[in-house]
C-alpha cells in the first residue's frame, strides 16, 4: 500500500498546523506563500475551524493575538515584507506572554525585493524583530517532511513557554513538492492548560492580558521573567543536526534550504575523496552554540553558507573561540548559491590551507 503523500512546503505548513490543533488562522496574500493561505481557506473550514483572510498583516497578527488570548492555538503566515508589518504585533504577543506560531516563507529584500527564495530575515527572526527586550524561538526546516516534524514542535514551544514562535522557511521550501510518509501525519499533541485565557469571569475573578506596566520597576519584573524564560529555552530547546566524521577537513554550517544544497555538495566532494562535514542549526534561536563548538573542535575550518549577506555568520563567530578559520559564502537578492560555486570555494579553501601548512 502506498503510504506516502505529496505535499508542497506551503501546503505542508498548513496541514501540519491543522494536525497540531491550530484552531485559528488569519493571513493576507503574499508570494511565495500564497498557497498556504489558500490551503488554509479550504482546509480550516473543512475542519470546522476558523479562517480569516485579513485586510493586512497588521490585522492578521492582531487577530492571532485575539485568538491566542481566547486560549486556542493560532497561526498566521506571510513572507518577508508582511512579516515586517507584523513585528509590532509579535512584540505585543511577547509582552503579553501569548503563544502564537508565525510562518515566514522568506523572499529577497530589502524593500519589496523580489519573490525568489532568500534567507535575508535571519537577523529579524533571531534578534526579536520588533521593539523591546524579547526573543522568539525560531525553527528552520530543511525539507517538506521536516515541516511536519517541526510545526508541532513550534506549537508546543509556544504553549509551553507562552511565546510567539517563528517557523522560518524560504520560497524554495514553500514551493517545492516532496513525498511525506503518512506516519509523519500522526502527531500526538500535548495539551497545555491555559488558565490565563480570557473566557469571561464566570466562576472566577476577572483577568486581564496586557503589556503596559507603568509602575516603577513593574516592567523590569516582566523583563526579568522573560529573560529567565529565554535562558531556560536556551538550555532546553536547542535543536541541530550534525553530520561529521573524523576524516572531515572542513565543516559547513548552513540551515534550511542552504543545508539541503550543502548535502549535495558534500556527496559530490566525497566522490573525489574530499571529506566535508555539515552542522545544521535547526533552532536558529536558541542558536546551538555549544553544540557547534563541540562538533567543530576537531576540524577548525568552517564555511558558513547562507542565502543572504553574512548573518548567521555572526552567530557562528560568537560560538567559536579564536583559532577557528571561519569563511563565508552567500548570495543575496534571491540567488541560490550553486553546488558548483560552493565546491569551487571549498577546494580553494583547502588548497590555501595546505599552502599554510
Amino acid at each position: 500500500m502506498n503510504t506516502r503523500l505529496l505535499f508542497s512546503g506551503n501546503d505542508a505548513f498548513g496541514e501540519a498546523a491543522i494536525i497540531s490543533g491550530c484552531q485559528f488562522y488569519a493571513g493576507y496574500p503574499i508570494t511565495p506563500q500564497n498557497e498556504l493561505t489558500q490551503y488554509m481557506s479550504r482546509r480550516m473550514l473543512e475542519e470546522g475551524r476558523i479562517f480569516i483572510q485579513s485586510e493586512s498583516e497588521l490585522a492578521s497578527i492582531n487577530m492571532v493575538f485575539g485568538a491566542s488570548l481566547s486560549g486556542v492555538r493560532a497561526m498566521t503566515s506571510s513572507s518577508s515584507p508582511g512579516i515586517s508589518l507584523m513585528q509590532e504585533g509579535i512584540s505585543y504577543l511577547a509582552g503579553c506572554e501569548l503563544p502564537a506560531v508565525v510562518v515566514n516563507v522568506m523572499r529577497g529584500g530589502p524593500g519589496l525585493g523580489n519573490i525568489d527564495p532568500s534567507q535575508a530575515d535571519y537577523f529579524q527572526s533571531t534578534r526579536g524583530g520588533g521593539h523591546g527586550d524579547y526573543r522568539t524561538p525560531v525553527l528552520a526546516p530543511e525539507s517538506v517532511p521536516e515541516i511536519f516534524k517541526l510545526t508541532p514542535v513550534a506549537f508546543e514551544l509556544a504553549d509551553k513557554y507562552r511565546t510567539p514562535v517563528i517557523l522560518l522557511g524560504d520560497g524554495m521550501l514553500g514551493q517545492m513538492m516532496e513525498p511525506v510518509d503518512r506516519d509523519l501525519l500522526n502527531i500526538k499533541n500535548k495539551v497545555y492548560p491555559k488558565p490565563w485565557a480570557l473566557t469571561g469571569c464566570l466562576k472566577r475573578k476577572p483577568q486581564s492580558i496586557k503589556s503596559l506596566y507603568l509602575a516603577t520597576g513593574a516592567l523590569e519584573e516582566l523583563n526579568l521573567r522573560l529573560q529567565e524564560r529565554y535562558r531556560r529555552i536556551e538550555e532546553q530547546e536547542v535543536r541541530f543536526q550534525s553530520q561529521i566524521s573524523s576524516k572531515d577537513s572542513l565543516l559547513i554550517v548552513a540551515y534550511g534550504t542552504m543545508a539541503r544544497i550543502a548535502k549535495g555538495v558534500i556527496k559530490a566532494l566525497k566522490s573525489e575523496n574530499i571529506n566535508v562535514g555539515l552542522f545544521r542549526p535547526v533552532t536558529l534561536w536558541p542558536f546551538p552554540s555549544k553544540e557547534l563548538k563541540n562538533s567543530a573542535s576537531g576540524i577548525k575550518n568552517i564555511l558558513v553558507l547562507e542565502m543572504s549577506s553574512p548573518q548567521m555568520h555572526e552567530d557562528v563567530r560568537l560560538a567559536l573561540p579564536s583559532g577557528f578559520k571561519i569563511d563565508f559564502l552567500g548570495r543575496m537578492g534571491g540567488i541560490i548559491p550553486s553546488e558548483d560555486e560552493i565546491i569551487e570555494k571549498i577546494k580553494k579553501m583547502l588548497k590555501s590551507l595546505r599552502r599554510v601548512k
Binding site: 485559528f24 493586512s56 490585522a59 492582531n62 492571532v64 485575539g66 481566547s70 505585543y92 486581564s208
Partner: protein, 242 residues
C-alpha cells in the same frame, strides 16, 4: 432606606486617573451600568485601546485586554469568532479608531462582525498631549494646530459614522454626547442598544460619544460641554446614523 444610586457591580471601586471633567469616567460607568442591566458581566471580554483609556481594565470588573494602538477591532474579531457565546466589545478613542486603526475599523465593520464598539470622540489625542485628532473640528486649537485646524493645511475632520453607514455589514450606528444629563441618558440608551444587538446576533454596532477633554481643549469642564453642544455637533450631528 432605599438605595437610589450606587456604583455598578461591573465598575471597580478605585481612584480615577482621569483629569477633572474628562468624559472617559462617565462612559466607563455607563458601560458598566449597561453590562449590569443586561447581566452579561461574566461573559464579557473588553478590549481597551492605547490612549487615555488604556487603563480601562483597572476600572472594569470583568475580563479585559489591551490591544496595540489602533488594533482593537482585529483583536475583537478573533475573540468573537473563537468565542461566539461571549460578549466582546472595544472601547476606543478617535486616534485609535479613526486614524491609526481606520483600516481595522472599516474592515471589521464591513465583514459585519457581531461586535459592539464604544467610540469616544474627544477631538484630540489626549494621552500624548492634545495633538490634532482626525476628528478635530475646523478652527479647533490643538498642540499641533496652534492657530486652529485649517483645511488647507490639516485637512477636514473625519466623519467616521457617516463613512461606515454605507457598509452592508454595519447594523447600528448612533452618535450621542454627554453635555447634559438627558444626553448622558441617551448615550446610555444607545450603549444598551449596541450591546443588546450583539446579544441578539444582529451584527456590528457602534456608538460614538462626543466627549469633553477640558485639559487639552483649554476650557473649564462646563465650558467644554457647552462648546460641544454649540459647536462640535455642527460637524458631528447627534442621532441615529444607521
Amino acid at each position: 432606606m432605599k438605595v437610589l444610586y450606587k456604583r455598578p457591580y461591573a465598575l471597580n471601586d478605585i481612584q480615577t486617573h482621569y483629569c477633572s471633567g474628562c468624559g472617559h469616567g462617565i462612559i466607563h460607568r455607563l458601560v458598566a451600568e449597561v453590562i449590569d442591566e443586561l447581566q452579561i458581566r461574566e461573559k464579557t471580554i473588553a478590549i481597551a485601546p492605547v490612549g487615555c483609556a488604556v487603563l480601562a481594565y483597572d476600572y472594569w470588573n470583568f475580563d479585559t485586554t489591551e490591544a496595540a494602538h489602533g488594533r482593537p477591532l482585529a483583536v475583537a474579531t478573533a475573540i468573537k469568532r473563537v468565542q461566539p457565546d461571549k460578549i466582546v466589545f472595544t472601547y476606543q478613542g478617535d486616534g485609535d479608531l479613526a486614524a491609526i486603526g481606520t483600516n481595522e475599523t472599516i474592515h471589521a465593520a464591513c465583514r459585519g462582525e457581531n461586535l459592539t464598539v464604544v467610540f469616544v470622540n474627544n477631538g484630540v489625542y489626549g494621552m500624548t498631549g492634545g495633538q490634532m485628532a482626525p476628528t478635530t473640528v475646523l478652527s479647533q486649537k490643538t498642540t499641533t494646530t496652534l492657530s486652529g485646524r485649517e483645511r488647507s493645511i490639516h485637512g477636514y475632520p473625519l466623519p467616521l459614522l457617516e463613512m461606515l453607514k454605507v457598509l452592508e455589514g454595519v447594523f447600528y450606528l448612533e452618535r450621542r454626547s454627554l453635555f447634559s444629563p438627558s444626553e448622558v441618558k441617551k448615550s446610555k440608551q444607545a450603549l444598551l442598544t449596541a450591546f443588546q444587538n450583539q446579544i441578539e446576533n444582529k451584527g456590528f454596532s457602534m456608538v460614538e460619544i462626543l466627549s469633553p477633554c477640558p485639559t487639552y481643549s483649554k476650557m473649564k469642564p462646563v465650558e467644554n460641554l457647552k462648546w460641544i453642544e454649540k459647536e462640535v455637533i455642527k460637524t458631528y450631528p447627534l442621532g441615529r446614523v444607521k
